[in-house]
């Protein structure tokens, strides 16, 4: 009879292949030059550390996670082991943040990585070994960077080897550093409202797709202005990271706010001898000093620094181009609907006034 009962249960299971709300279990190990961070889902931590949900109500509270922090770090020290040139590294994991991902909430810890970019780096991974056969560790956060299954020895593989080469030669490391910093640059320009506001202040008065009276295309000054800004911030970013100029000066952040107000002000009352591209270059120098701190936090040194800077600048450029192209499309649409006079009034004048107000607000905040 029990045989028939289990048939009944499984029949209903089997007649339709189930549909999934998300993927199976993953953890993420992200290398960032001198730093490594590890993200583990709270579901998996609960599985590995049954005591974490202390009251057993299956509602995991922040306080329970905080109280379990030392056992979480002990668990990761035990199960995520890195070797630099065959020498075990002792990683001092420290809590960094909780993070939301598409399938669950994760806890992220980070540690500094004492391994030169020319040294070999190997990983032994055992988290959830024998507990979840489909658990994977995604290395680098990118699909092509690497994928590891937990195993205790090199012999009993579930899917991949126990030891994985993460970084070997200096050249490929350089390229991967560059690629890693591109998203950071994009994120920085798109995530920072003040840089965007400055860009907009420069873009507002330039009418696109409308040839001026002499029949010259107007995108050329636009390109010069954007390039001026890029040259400016690339230069100070480089100088600050080489230690040739100080980046964390107290006047930088207020000066960035002021640069927005000034650029927007010039849209209202143009000063004929002041060229937009020269101004963009000058203010670019100031904004570059604002970016410099980001690279400092990433603790990039040596030859990786140049790669990182190149990637970061490329990312900033991509971000700018994305904003620029959105603006171009908007202008193209607008040019067919608004007369030049109305455009001047609503876009250039009103837009500049809003930017000035915003910039003055930031200036007050930062002074």
């Amino acid at each position: 009879m029990s045989g028939l009962l289990s048939v009944l249960v499984c029949a209903l299971l089997l007649f339709s292949a189930p549909v999934w709300a998300h993927k199976a279990s993953d953890a993420y190990l992200i290398f960032n030059s001198q730093k490594v961070s590890m993200s583990v889902s709270l579901h998996d931590l609960d599985l590995a550390l049954p005591g974490m949900d202390a009251d057993g109500d299956r509602q995991l509270r922040w306080v329970e996670v905080q109280e379990a922090q030392s056992s979480i770090i002990a668990l990761l020290t035990r199960t995520v082991r890195l070797e630099c040139n065959q020498r075990p590294l002792s990683l001092a994991w420290a809590f960094e943040s909780l993070e939301k991902r598409t399938d669950a909430n994760y806890l992220r810890v980070a540690a500094s990585l004492q391994c030169a970019s020319t040294d070999s780096l190997h990983l032994k991974y055992n988290l959830l070994e024998g507990v979840d056969a489909s658990h994977r560790l995604v290395i680098g956060g990118q699909s092509n960077a690497g994928l590891v299954s937990p195993t205790s020895t090199g012999r009993t593989e579930i899917r991949a080897g126990a030891e994985h080469l993460v970084a070997a030669s200096g050249t490929s490391q350089g390229w991967s550093t560059l690629v890693r910093f591109v998203p950071q640059g994009i994120h920085h320009i798109l995530g920072g409202p003040d840089h965007l506001a400055f860009l907009l202040a420069l873009l507002l008065p330039i009418p696109l797709f409308v040839r001026d009276l002499k029949g010259q295309a107007t995108w050329w000054p636009l390109l010069r202005t954007i390039t001026g800004f890029t040259l400016g911030h690339s230069l100070t970013l480089l100088l600050a990271n080489l230690g040739l100029i100080a980046a964390d000066l107290p006047w930088v952040e207020p000066a960035i706010a002021a640069s927005i107000a000034i650029s927007a002000g010039l849209n209202l009352r143009p000063v004929t001898w002041l060229r937009a591209d020269v101004l963009a270059l000058a203010f670019g120098l100031v904004h570059g000093m604002g970016f410099a701190g980001v690279m400092g936090q990433a603790q990039v040194t040596g030859s990786a620094l140049y790669w990182g800077l190149a990637g970061f600048n490329l990312g900033v450029e991509f971000g700018q181009l994305a904003v620029l192209s959105a603006w171009c499309l908007f202008n193209f649409w607008l040019a067919r609907r608004l007369s030049p006079q109305l455009r001047e009034l609503f876009i250039v004048r009103a837009g500049s006034c809003v930017l000035i107000a915003l910039a003055l607000f930031w200036l007050m905040q930062r002074l």
Binding site: F15, V19, W20, R58, L98, Q142, V182
Partner: protein, 383 residues
Amino acid sequence: MHSPTRFLPMFVLCAAWCSPAWSVPTTWDFLPSHRYEVVQVLAARTKPLTSSASIDDVASSARALIEQSRRLSDPRFLGRAQAMLAPWWNRAEAPANLAILQATIEQSRHHFDDARKTLQRILQANPRHAQALLTLATLEKLSGRYALAIHVCEQLQDSGATVYASACTLETKSLLGQSAQAKAGFKRLVDSESNRATRAWLLSLAAENMERAGKNSEARALYLVSLELQADPYTALALTDLYLRDRQWGAAYQSLRGQAESDAVLIRRAFALQQAGEHAQAQAIVLTLEERFRAMHARGEESRFHGREFALYALWIERNPAKALAISQSNLSLQKEPLDWWVYAASAQALGDSLEIDRVRQLFGASGLVDLRVSALLIGVRP
């Protein structure tokens, strides 16, 4: 005359969007605002196995995990069940009640070839194993081998699982176009069945039979009765697809209310919302789906095991029938259920390429499957 400057924005936009940053899964950092904030709702804890656990204990614990994975639409629990079965996984000497669970896990992951091998191993040792026969029949139907499926269903009859054996045969006959016979048979089975869950399941099979015969209103009524008896994600999806085909966007959206947010559910929700003109809401769902696809890709998941969803996504959401056609065509080498044929035919029809439509018609004709939903898409444009 187009000035080259007109293309500048498009070029720039492409350059920015093609950068590698967009393929990386996104995360959002957060810190709770107070100490007692719930940061994660966890699934019910399953009983851990002790070192003295018997084979039956292992089987019941692994089965509980598989059921949990299905109930929560959460594949994590399949990995946990697999880890529990590890000592017997792929072993010729594995007891049948553990090997059958391995086959269930493989089938759930759409690894149909692996599942078939595992089942054949069980049946070699025990040719009358009811569960193995039932699963094998499902796989044969899914692969479009209807004659083999009927043969397996008949073997099942001998092993004593009569309701399942009859339903198995009736469903295969229905797929082959004998809908009147299947209709009468399902009615008989439903009337004599007392178990609620089994009745609900039989009613959903009867509904599918009606739908294939082009009788939408009868199918809808049967789906609704089935769902009333027992909520089931698979039946809810089938009903939603019926509404979507009838262009009843509101009803389609409603019928997915309260469902676990599987990819299949989200794709249909986004499509229904788009069609109803709720573009902002639809777009939010599309972003979630794209994020999931990125995360799936990052963990090395093979997209061919998700061909049906990807084809529907390309057809409905991306509105790219050429892409949908390519995906749905290769998906047929994995599974050949009516919906797989439907998305293939619908893609060819949306593309409007008469050569492709001819090709689909030929392949579909040779498959043996009879389904008016599919043939209606192909007949309408016959030259």
